[in-house]
Amino acid sequence: MRHHPLQYCGCVAIGDTEGDKTNLEGVAVMPVAVETPKKEWTGQVREVVLGATEAEGGTRSKTVTVGGESTLPFLDFEAPMPNPPRIAVEIQDRKPSDWSSVLLTVWGQVLDDPAAWAKAVEELDVDLLVLKINLTDADGNETTAEQARASVRKVLDATGLPLIVFGPGQTELDIDLLVAVAEEAAGERVVLGVCDDKNYKTIVAAALAHGHLVNGRTAMDVNLAKQLNILISDMGLPLDRVIMDPTTAALGYGVEYGYSAMERLRLAALQGDGMTQQPMLVTPGEEAWRMKEAKVGEDVPQAWGDWEERAITWETLTATTLIHSGADIVVLRHPESVRRVEDLISRLWNKGD
């Protein structure tokens, strides 16, 4: 029988210089000493601390540190990865009107009350909570600053998790709502988002005034991502209070573009490009659940299989792909996706030394 040549230099011998080894067919092979190639980077991702405990002027039960890595994800044999990628779970200020029924079913009653929803998230044993403020309230009226303030208060009172707050994503309204949120949550080191190239001046000023952080979002473009960091930094906000959100897309809908942009930003950071060294936040949950593969169970081919399993897989794979390209925070929606992504992180993450 002919052997494939690769069998003789097979994996059994890599990195192992002791003892006789045989290949899969029992043929003796010479042990080969293979030195693991290591890349030495000169740069490091900045560490950013989210949340403030009582000692730091807030009311969170803990703080969460992200970033700090000086190598690519999980390559702890090269350099330490002091903090694991963190999972944040998204809740909204009211029952979402456009979420998949899979999500509505799994969360159930808590959807109508952000405080109860926040508590349910805390029970999942995750690190971070995202509160998304909707464009309109349950009655269809534009959300007011007072409503946003009240929602944030409820959530802060209900949970000790560090908080990230997203506005509806409309420049003018985001400014109104996030400024109110910043005031209400003064001292809590909340992450304010979306901070983009149109509204950054106001959002950064609010963060400066009330001791918060910002999440700077750009549309899958490394040049714009760096430029926004420069602009934010020029406003006087220290870079250890800036997270960057390079935007992403779902599996099958351009996740590879997001992956490439993040990879390039991270490589630049590790090469010492100081204005790209921010921890990265992405929202794979929102992206994946927008797509029909996750969102709907009707009028799709039978071969697609079980709806809920497919949806969770879509969200999980989108998230884990992005973690491999350097995401420091992934925002998820389904508790089972949270469990699976947490499982992956716990298997791969090793602090290193």
């Binding site: 490394v222 040049n223 760096k226 430029q227 420069i230 930003l265 630049a268 090469q271 490009d273």
Partner: protein
């Protein structure tokens, strides 16, 4: 560096309007100003001109030759217009351009050969290849054989690796430098090399464009660039090309540019140790080199940091 003035091109509204109205004055002013500023030749881009190509080209060539006496670089995809221009020119023309696209490669080189014109050959097919080795492969497998077949001497060929923008396609800025280097080695005698220099700074804030393309020019010259389509009126570009060509090391910036040129020539990085970062001009050059080498990600505010 052989400078082809870029300003007479149909993308400019001023030029387009002058062509439509057959108004000589604006065209002649642009021509004279560029030649007075040191242009060795003039780009004449009339666009495809589907309806009246030959007539427009004849009018344009005549209009220009009334006021300037430099070679014209005829730029149109309209073959009849190209031939009309070639018949009319008083000095050896430059045909802009062929590529490895089969139709272009079939039609354009014979025309250049027939009228003893120089030929610009883009190292791309129907699509743009970005990696240096792919561009050189296109030159070797498609452009050179066809050019030899029609009998144009290689020293009459201007190979153009196609310059992409630093603001959007930064990864390929160093690739173009390497392409120039390789193209100078593909034949004996080697082809001439040419770039459309301003392309690199498209999308860059106006105030920084000259810095970006002038720095890039020094690097490209180090790799073997012979000619470029440029804004001949840009003082910084003129001065920096002069410094490199005359090896004028009488100023700190001159020394830095010569270091950059020499380092690029031997495929080395500019030694950061020789840069005085307290001198804003030197700091700006160094940061721009870092960006053009794709070592630091481009951002509009890259000079601020």
């Amino acid at each position: 560096m052989y400078k082809i003035g870029e300003e007479i091109q149909v993308i400019s509204t001023k030029v387009r309007k002058a062509i439509e109205e057959r108004s000589k004055a604006p065209i002649q002013q642009l021509a004279v100003a560029q030649v007075e500023a040191g242009a060795d030749a003039l780009e004449v881009n009339i666009g495809p001109q589907k309806k009246k190509g030959p007539e427009v080209m004849e009018w344009m060539v005549d209009t220009l030759q009334e006021v300037v006496d430099v070679p014209l670089c005829l730029d149109t995809t309209n073959l009849a217009a190209m031939e009309a221009g070639l018949k009319r020119v008083k000095q050896q023309a430059i045909v802009n351009s062929t590529s490895a696209d089969p139709d272009r490669l079939r039609d354009v080189p014979p025309l250049a050969a027939k009228y003893d014109a120089k030929l610009i050959a883009l190292t791309m097919g129907k699509n743009i290849a970005v990696e240096a080795d792919k561009r050189v492969t296109i030159a070797l497998e498609h452009l050179v054989p066809r050019i030899m077949e029609v009998g144009i001497p290689m020293d009459q060929v201007l190979m153009d690796p196609l310059i992409l923008t630093v603001s959007g396609m930064q990864e390929y800025c160093p690739e173009a430098i390497e392409t120039i280097r390789f193209l100078k080695q593909i034949s004996d005698p080697p082809p001439l090399t040419l770039v459309g220099l301003s392309n690199v700074s498209n999308g860059v804030p106006r105030g920084n464009r000259s810095l970006v393309y002038s720095t890039y020019a020094v690097m490209l010259l180090g790799a073997g660039l012979d000619a470029a389509i440029v804004d001949p009126r840009d003082e910084r570009l003129k001065e920096w090309v002069r410094i490199v060509e005359e090896r004028d090391d009488s100023t700190p910036v001159g020394q830095l540019l010569l270091n950059l040129y020499d380092a690029t020539a031997v495929m080395e990085d500019l030694d950061p140790g020789i840069v005085d970062m307290d001198d804003p001009d030197q700091a700006a050059i160094f940061k721009t080199v870092q960006v053009l080498q794709d070592k630091i990600i481009y951002a509009d505010g890259y000079l601020q940091i």
